[in-house]
């Protein structure tokens, strides 16, 4: 996903606007591209409508408790998804806390620090992280990261941070390995390239006068970055981080393989196995034998769609504001 700041969309070819003299071929060709372009709104409309219709019975039956309760019991047709939503939010937040600073740091390295010969290869390698299919992250997490977390990282955290008053609660309980923390770590790696590539482009777009002004005042490089570059690029970077968040919220396979998929109740400990909305769908769709069960699974997808649409919309708004072009950034 190349993040290239769009030029403020050049008005396409004024020469081509002689509509009156349009011949038959032009009319046919033009209309067919319009028809093909219209397929997109059609798909999106169908997707949203159909999911909503299919999910409606469950939403109607459960009402607000669909979002607020934690009992997911297909046998007694009780569908509360609060713990799925909780899992989604917690894993995505872990991913942001761990991933975003490193991603922005890597972007700063690429835009401000790296010598020319290093810039290309490093940014290529970081883009490769985005190319690796999520199932491979899942496989790696399943066989490498989860055992490592269980044997090394989690006992360490429990021993040293566990006794602390408030944060300690996050790191309590037995180290399972396949839990929310591991899912968050995998997600942090997966959203890193998304954030880095956008942040890099945004930082590059900061005018050099900003930097020069700061340096002329005798600022060190770091002072220049905190004083001139980051304030200027803040909105865009936040937008990039939110796009990363959008990716984390919807990520399925990698999370499914490391989160443990147990519908334990909501507890503060990150060492608890859990579910995210996406992993719940992936784990349960095969068992959907009754209509209401089916409807409930679709309803989870509706909630997920809704949340990601809001996050992505906000992200794009921020990036557009930064890029000040009608098309904004291409991700």
């Amino acid at each position: 996903m190349h993040a290239i700041p769009d030029p403020p969309a050049p008005a396409p070819q004024p020469v081509a606007q002689r509509r009156s003299g349009e011949n038959v071929g032009d009319r046919v060709f033009r209309s067919s591209t319009i028809v093909l372009a219209a397929v997109n709104p059609l798909i999106l409309g169908m997707l949203a409508l159909l999911l909503f219709i299919d999910g409606w019975p469950a939403l109607q039956k459960e009402g607000l408790s669909f979002l607020a309760t934690t009992t997911w019991d297909p046998v007694f047709t009780e569908f509360g998804t609060a713990h799925f939503i909780f899992g989604t939010i917690v894993t995505s937040l872990i991913a942001l806390v761990l991933g975003a600073p490193i991603a922005v740091g890597a972007a700063l390295f690429l835009a401000e620090y790296a010598p020319d010969w290093l810039r290309e290869p490093v940014s290529y390698i970081i883009e490769m992280l985005a190319v690796i299919p999520s199932i491979i992250y899942g496989l790696w997490g399943f066989f490498v990261l989860a055992p490592f977390m269980r044997a090394t990282v989690e006992p360490f955290l429990r021993e040293y941070i566990g006794p602390l008053p408030v944060i300690g609660a996050l790191f309590s309980g037995p180290a399972v390995g396949k839990d929310m923390l591991t899912a968050g770590v995998i997600l942090a790696i997966m959203i890193l390239p998304t954030i880095t590539s956008i942040a890099r482009e945004i930082i590059k777009a900061v005018p050099d006068q900003q930097r020069e002004g700061m340096v002329a005042l005798g600022a060190t490089k770091w002072e220049m970055i905190t004083g001139a570059v980051l304030p200027y690029a803040r909105a865009g970077i936040v937008g990039g981080v939110m796009l990363g968040l959008g990716r984390a919220l919807g990520e399925t396979m990698a999370v499914t393989m490391v989160i443990g998929n147990s519908s334990a109740q909501i507890t503060p400990s990150l060492f608890n196995p859990g579910y995210t909305m996406a992993s719940a769908i992936a784990n349960q769709f095969r068992e959907a034998d009754s209509d209401i069960y089916f409807s409930a699974i679709v309803a989870v997808a509706v909630v997920l769609l809704f949340v990601t649409a809001i996050v992505n919309g906000l992200a794009r708004l921020l990036i557009w504001k930064m890029a000040r072009g009608p098309v904004g950034l291409r991700i």
């Binding site: 033009r30 372009a37 922005v104 890597a106 790296a114 992280l129 396979m253 769908i281």
Partner: protein
């Protein structure tokens, strides 16, 4: 963030205070340089670690049978992932047949005609579709095709899901390369009395040819690694199947099924299949990158 820079000047300027301050400022600067370099190094190390691990674990699984035979039942050692390779190719082919024309058509519309409210809506919708989690696309196709129209899992349903995922990728890449074609080309052609549609087909598209191909290949590389939507639609199959309207195996789904199984041999096969997948996907993106870099247009 901005406050740090403005608080640099101390209240009282003595030679000592300035020098001390300068030293600490420089120390912070050095520290942050190190920290930022570490961030980049960490990201690079992560990728190398994952890649090397997949290669080391996956290489032992690769042999002739792995590419030509079907998976054996539980407990039996041997067999291969040939049905999954064929399945992925068939599903991808069908997905490309559906998704690429829509993507290229939309891109032509946006780059050559796109103005006014409809174009804005289409751009916005493309952004929205790109942001829909792939599992949600999977649920949509599952609810529509698998549960209602077709009635069972099928490779075709998988293709539809992948096509939806491909469309925004194709559209964005192709629109971008079409915009790179200089207007002079269009003007010269139109000035000769060539109608606009012929100009687009005979001048604009050939000029942007390699960029268009890049967009298509890139979208296939992305979609080919998708697992969640295929799990919900194509389901997987242990046997050779060429029928798109039956459940069909696919490489990513096969990796998942092997990985969560309790057999060591299957785990090795999961790594082997992952190695194939990563090589194909990596190679495709490497080629597209080489083609797009430097000469954004390629062609003539």
């Amino acid at each position: 963030m901005a406050t740090q820079a403005t608080t640099v000047a101390p209240k009282l300027f003595t030679r000592q205070s300035i020098r001390g301050q300068q030293r600490s400022r420089q120390l912070v600067d050095k520290l942050m340089t190190g920290l930022i370099t570490t961030c980049a190094a960490l990201a690079v190390a992560m990728l190398l670690f994952i890649l090397v691990y997949v290669i080391i674990r996956g290489a032992p699984a690769l042999n002739f049978a792995f590419f030509t035979e079907r998976p054996l039942p539980m407990g039996e050692v041997g067999g291969g992932v040939a049905p999954a390779i064929i399945g992925t190719l068939l599903i991808m082919g069908a997905a490309a047949l559906m998704g690429v024309p829509v993507g290229i058509g939309t891109a032509i519309y946006l780059a050559e005609y796109g103005r006014g409210r409809f174009a804005t809506i289409v751009r916005f919708v493309i952004d929205l579709i790109a942001g829909v989690p792939s599992i949600v696309v999977g649920v949509f196709v599952w609810a529509l095709l698998v549960r209602q129209v077709i009635g069972h899992f099928s490779g075709f349903a998988g293709s539809v899901a992948l096509a939806i995922i491909m469309i925004p990728i194709v559209t964005r890449t192709v629109e971008e390369v079409l915009r790179l074609v200089p207007d002079m080309y269009r003007e010269a052609s139109l000035a000769l009395g060539v109608p606009q549609w012929k100009t687009i087909i005979a001048i604009v598209l050939p000029t942007a040819k390699s960029g268009v191909i890049t967009g298509v290949v890139l979208s296939m590389a992305r979609a080919g690694g998708e697992t969640a939507p295929l799990l919900l639609t194509a389901l997987g199959n242990q046997f050779f199947s060429f029928d798109l309207f039956q459940p069909m195996a696919a490489l990513p789904v096969q990796i998942y099924n092997y990985a969560v199984s309790p057999y060591d041999d299957w785990h090795t096969k999961a790594w082997g299949a992952a190695l194939i997948l990563i090589m194909v996907v990596g190679l495709l993106s490497f080629i597209t990158r080489q083609v797009t870099r430097g000469r954004g247009l390629g062609g003539r």
